[in-house]
Amino acid sequence: MAEALWTRFREGRGIWLSVPAFVFLTIFFIAPMAVLLSFGFTEIERGQVREGTFTLKYLTNTLTDDLFWWVWWKSFYIGVLSTLLCFLLAYPLAYVYSNSGRVMRLLILILTISPLLTSAIVRTYAWLVILGGRRGVVNVTLIELGLIDRPIRMLNTDFAVIMGMTQVHLPFMILPLITVLAARDRNMEAASLGMGASRIATFFKITVPMSTPGIVAGLTIVFALSYTNFIIPQLLGGGGFTTLAVQVYEQIVVILDWGRGAMLALLLLGSCFVFILAIGLAGNRAMRWAEREAAT
């Protein structure tokens, strides 16, 4: 095994070019991460890590805690909903982009990328202004229009968190979809139309399945971002609102319970990997056709 790896390493021309990045990430990302996660299995007393000890108490305490599962479910469903919302908003836009001329394409691209130039926190604060209380833009507008009598509570709800996440993460869904849709072979659609299929059937049977790689990439990125985001739930969800990521932050920074915080971080990270893997496997299944069999 090690020998095979070494051979591959030696044969992989130019692989040493990745050494600086590898060293950098090891020192500044992997090592601190490992240290943090190891706290989840170490005895900690009065803020002192007792090196060399091993305990599973944080693991068992967490997994048997109903509150943990409730919080996990909240994180999961907020992540799934905002990811799906991103997809439903991004796909039509990416499709329009792929069928547009140069000017329209540039416009869509600028509108997609420019929010990334502003900090996500600033953009999240913008939602406070839009959704917030009596003087929020939405409520004022609705009242002025006479559609509602009293302000609707929008801030500090699941709705606000999902809206915020969707807006902040939308570019990461749009960009991979634009990439696959703009590069697609339009003759496929012409062939479908030529064989008598309607435009709608052509879209769902040909265009969408063939954009699977972009869909998988978009879902993966946006789900990972939404599932682990802790700023947006805190700002838009209000004091009582919590997700796994928020819990990690609170345990480590506010309550200073590093053991439990580390364990929650580990569970968040691990489950995130599991879901990403599941999306990838589903994508692979949908992409069975792309596997090359020996031509006969």
Partner: protein
């Protein structure tokens, strides 16, 4: 069966089709032949409905289809890269058009099986296109186009992706299948050998115009312009001044500006003394059954000659030869040079 009448098409300022008219009979196989950018593919896509002409009408089976979308024209189309759906098996690819027509399951299964049988791909029904060879993919595309029993089969450079040997074999195969089905077909190609193999009639196109539309032998034997003569087979286009120097040509030329002489209509003679038209052999090669020569006439005009090898001793490069035209009647006067 297919009438195209005064078709014009512009892409921006680019006049791609200029007054193209074609009339194609039922069961006929027609090839649009021309160099890239001559408008042949655009004309085909207009007939298929993927493009709409700026003026002119297209009639399929006595129905004006000029403004109809492709899915309502009942044409089968084979794309240059086949455009097989990579995420569907061979069977699903072939069944696609039948499903779009909501044909009941039993009949669908039967017709798909028949179509795969027609192109000898029964054993590949459950494979994905990516696992097939180029020739097999082309046959899937053909089966997929034919299974819906279209009125017309349209093929866009359908042999391009195949290697030379397979291409020749598939052209023969295609001609047989199309003739067996009896469908009216239009093919687009830049390959004159392909056009000669598969067509009943050939439309030679250049610069958006149809230069000549006739049977292969008529196009070869009686090209109407220097361009057509040069495009189909090899041709020597001689300006009048040079053509007149050959004996027996003057009356054939009949005042035209130039004369088309096929290379096989030229004889080279080493043994006799320098009389008549004389030249120097500058290049020779063996093509198999015959020899190809390049001869420079006294004033430097290059000439190609193809001579059957039987009873002919190869002439070395550098040899002085007398050049004669074997059959003056087979030469074709044309209005201008290339």
């Amino acid at each position: 069966m297919i009438e195209a009448e005064g078709i014009n098409k512009l892409f921006g300022a680019n006049h791609v089709l200029r007054d193209c008219s074609l009339s194609i009979d039922t069961g006929e196989v027609v090839t649009l032949l021309g160099a890239s950018g001559c408008g042949k593919t655009t004309l085909l896509r207009c007939i298929a409905g993927f493009e709409t002409p700026d003026s002119g009408t297209i009639t399929l089976a006595a129905t004006d289809v000029t403004r109809l979308p492709p899915n309502r024209r009942n044409v089968g189309f084979v794309f240059q890269n086949y455009a097989l759906f990579p995420h569907m098996t061979v069977r699903d690819n072939v069944a696609y058009g039948l499903k779009a027509r909501r044909i009941e399951k039993d009949r669908l299964e039967r017709e798909v099986a028949e179509a795969l049988d027609l192109v000898s791909l029964q054993d590949f029904a459950n494979r994905f296109p990516k696992s097939l060879s180029g020739g097999q993919q082309q046959r899937v595309a053909l089966a997929r186009a034919l299974v819906v029993q279209p009125k017309v089969l349209l093929m866009d450079e359908a042999f391009n992706a195949l290697d030379a040997k397979l291409r020749g074999a598939m052209q023969v195969e295609l001609r047989k299948i199309v003739k067996r089905v009896g469908i009216t077909a239009i093919c687009v190609t830049h390959d004159q050998a392909e056009a000669l193999t598969i067509s009943d009639r050939i439309a030679v196109m250049s610069e958006g115009r149809i230069q000549q539309f006739a049977t292969p032998d008529e196009i070869y034997d009686r090209p109407t312009s220097a361009f057509v003569a040069d495009f189909i087979g090899a041709a020597n286009v001689l300006p009048r001044g040079i053509a007149e120097r050959f004996s027996g040509i003057a009356e054939r030329l009949n005042g035209s500006a130039a004369l088309v002489v096929r290379p096989e209509n030229i004889a080279l003679n080493v043994s006799e003394g320098p009389s008549g038209v004389v030249g120097t052999v500058t290049f020779s090669r063996l093509t198999g059954p015959s020899m190809d020569y390049e001869v420079a006439l006294g004033d430097g005009t290059p000439l190609r000659a193809t001579i059957a090898r039987e009873g002919h001793d190869a002439i070395p490069v550098g040899a002085k030869v007398e050049v004669t035209i074997r059959n003056p009647d087979a030469c074709v006067p044309v209005a201008g040079m290339l």
